[in-house]
């Protein structure tokens, strides 16, 4: 019984962090209609940024967000502006520009391998003041860094929803995602909107990076581990849907955590994919995806 409860709590906490990582991906897709294959690498950049901020400045990992998140925003902004925009422009008459996928795949390989060249293949773990700290409620053990990651997920998602609903830029982003041509006719600079949406999507990876480093290690291909999860979560929840990403994340986290109580953990990956396929079979647009579009 204890381990079941423990499994539920842990699955929800780690799942919410997966969900946060998937949020950036779903936002970028929802707006630009581009599947960002470099998403995991952006997470890797976020983790390295967080790692070095904590290591060199000696600050608390959550305080490091003040530096890491804006840095990642500009990183994403520039990546969209310099690398992806030219390709998008060349394909401006295509609704879902597939060439961009190839470009983002290239970015993924370049980022991972440049990191490998600069920092080497070694695993880096940093001991922060909250690493390995826990709350104990009776027999229930809750990892503090995971709990704070859960909080960060809620805060970031609420902030994102508020931003999209109530700010002018947020409204422009939604407009451009609904119909880029109509939005352009209304005087919205769609490429600026894309830059900002991409920047936000990447900035979220900065938050995830800071939330992960107290308990996870950093290495050049760390993104790949989360990449596949993010794609499953995003499609499971519905492409472009914010609640879909969060709920999808928690579902995957719970399956991994609870499944392992009843079978070897090698098999839980299988269960994730079975549930994934079952959902697509019943509801092809994903749990929260609308039939039309976002």
């Amino acid at each position: 019984m204890d381990t079941i409860l423990q499994g539920i709590v842990n699955g929800t906490l780690i799942g919410s962090i997966y969900g946060l990582a998937a949020l950036g991906l779903t936002l970028i897709f929802g707006v630009i209609k581009v599947i960002n294959f470099a998403h995991g690498s952006c997470l890797m950049v976020g983790m390295y940024a967080a790692y070095w901020a904590v290591k060199l400045l000696g600050i608390h990992p959550y305080l490091a967000m003040v530096i890491v998140v804006p840095a990642l925003f500009f990183f994403g902004y520039l990546m969209q502006d310099i690398v992806i925009k030219p390709v998008l422009k060349a394909q401006s008459d295509v609704r879902e520009p597939t060439e961009v996928i190839i470009v983002t795949t290239g970015v993924w390989y370049i980022l991972d391998n440049v990191t490998l060249m600069i920092f080497g293949a070694e695993y880096r773990v940093i001991q922060t003041s909250i690493s390995g700290k826990i709350f104990e409620l009776g027999d229930l053990i809750i990892s503090k860094p995971k709990f704070y990651g859960f909080i960060a997920t809620i805060v970031v998602s609420l902030a994102l929803v508020w931003f999209l609903k109530y700010t002018k830029m947020g409204k422009s982003i939604r407009a451009a995602s609904l119909d880029r041509e109509a939005a352009s006719l209304m005087g919205i600079n769609q490429y600026r909107v894309y830059n900002i949406a991409f920047g936000i999507g990447t900035a979220i990876m900065g938050v995830v990076g800071c939330a992960l480093i107290p308990f996870y290690y950093v290495f050049p291909t760390v993104g790949v581990i989360f990449d596949v999860k993010c794609f499953i979560i995003v499609v499971l929840g519905g492409l472009g849907s914010i609640p879909g990403a969060l709920i999808g994340g928690v579902i995957v986290g719970l399956i991994e955590s609870m499944g392992a109580q009843f079978m070897t953990s090698t098999w839980t990956e299988l269960i994730v994919y079975v549930v994934f396929l079952a959902v697509l079979f019943v509801k092809p647009a994903g749990l929260f995806g609308s039939k039309l579009d976002w």
Binding site: T3, L116, G120, A121, Q127, G132, Q261, T264, S265
Partner: protein
Amino acid sequence: MKRTSLWRNGFFGVAALLFAVVMAVSAGTAIAAKENVVKIGNIIPLSGPSASVGVQNQYACDLATEMINNAGGIKSLGGAKLVNIYVDSKSDPTVGVSSAEQLINNDKVNILSGCWNSAVTYPTTQVAEKYGIPFIVPVSVRNTITERGFKYIFRIAAKDAWWARDQFKFLDDMQKSRNVSLKTIAFVYENGDWGVGMAEQWKPLAAQYGYKIVLDEPYPSTSSDLTPVALKIKKANPDVLLLTSNASDAILLNNTMAEMKVKVKAIVGTGGGHADPMFRKNCGKNAEYMFDVVEWETDLGKAGIPEVNAEFKKRHGYDLAGESVDAFASVFVIADALERAASLDPKKIRDALAKTKLCSGPGMIVSYDCVEFDETGQNKNAGIVMVQYRMIGDSLERVSVWPESAARKGFKTVFPMP
């Protein structure tokens, strides 16, 4: 019109590029042919989950090669220099196989070496056997690699059967000498060839020594969260926990178990990730008192170890690990065989390797006396040491504790783990 011109430009561009590449490659081979070299093709993981150990392997080979070349190369071949060609296996068996084909057919290597991951070594050695190119396996421990009747495969490391055998011997020894009763046992291992192979060895041994198996858990090395595994261990509450882990998961599992307050009487690792210096650096106190099986340790009292280790540490900032030492020694085994073969004919190199009896020289910093291969190509002397992780000052150190003859002076095994 536009399309045609683009095609033409593209075509000429590509043709020019191809021409340049062909010229460069042929120039390269021309130079290589003139130089007196022996090419060793190393297929090791340089990216992906095993990259950190792969890179250490590479560093160790580089150091050994440099030592041999500086000492005059292979004298019977007119001072031929050893040249290492490294190919990244990405820990992927299919990449390993295709790299071996490429190294043999395009790079014309004289000897192959690798591949760290047993899952990669197993099919890759098959390619070498097919072409009749000698293949040195420094570390992959899966039994069956040398049990297929192959003639060109030689392994430096102990087989996993020997590792498992000594893990149980050690536990038995401890039970008797410390009067601790160990009844239940849990197996937690990565779900690749190596982990599964180890678990296959453990099961009959557990039955033989009268343990009750309370958990048998293969897990994927690339997990993003190992809390579920830690919880299962906690629930099963075994006396002994046997682990087989790669590098990243060893760190994650260890820290998660500490967080989840998993307590067992003895945790015994199987080298690999637990022997990786990164493990020590990243786990610290969380890994104290854990045991690990290794072939080698920096504190072994053998001539040459301090010097070689100091040089390695100076270059890369961390100590040699058992597996890097196997890689290091393997280069000396190759050099020794080449010296005796006095030829680059693969058959002659193979025959020289089969007659290896290397007992001295700068490469022999291994824990046992001589490298000698039996008829299957297995190094029959490969020995095993048990170490315990202890905090010494601020850092986690590996202290040799068993067998008694190899134990570091002034340390007493702490058993059961507090």
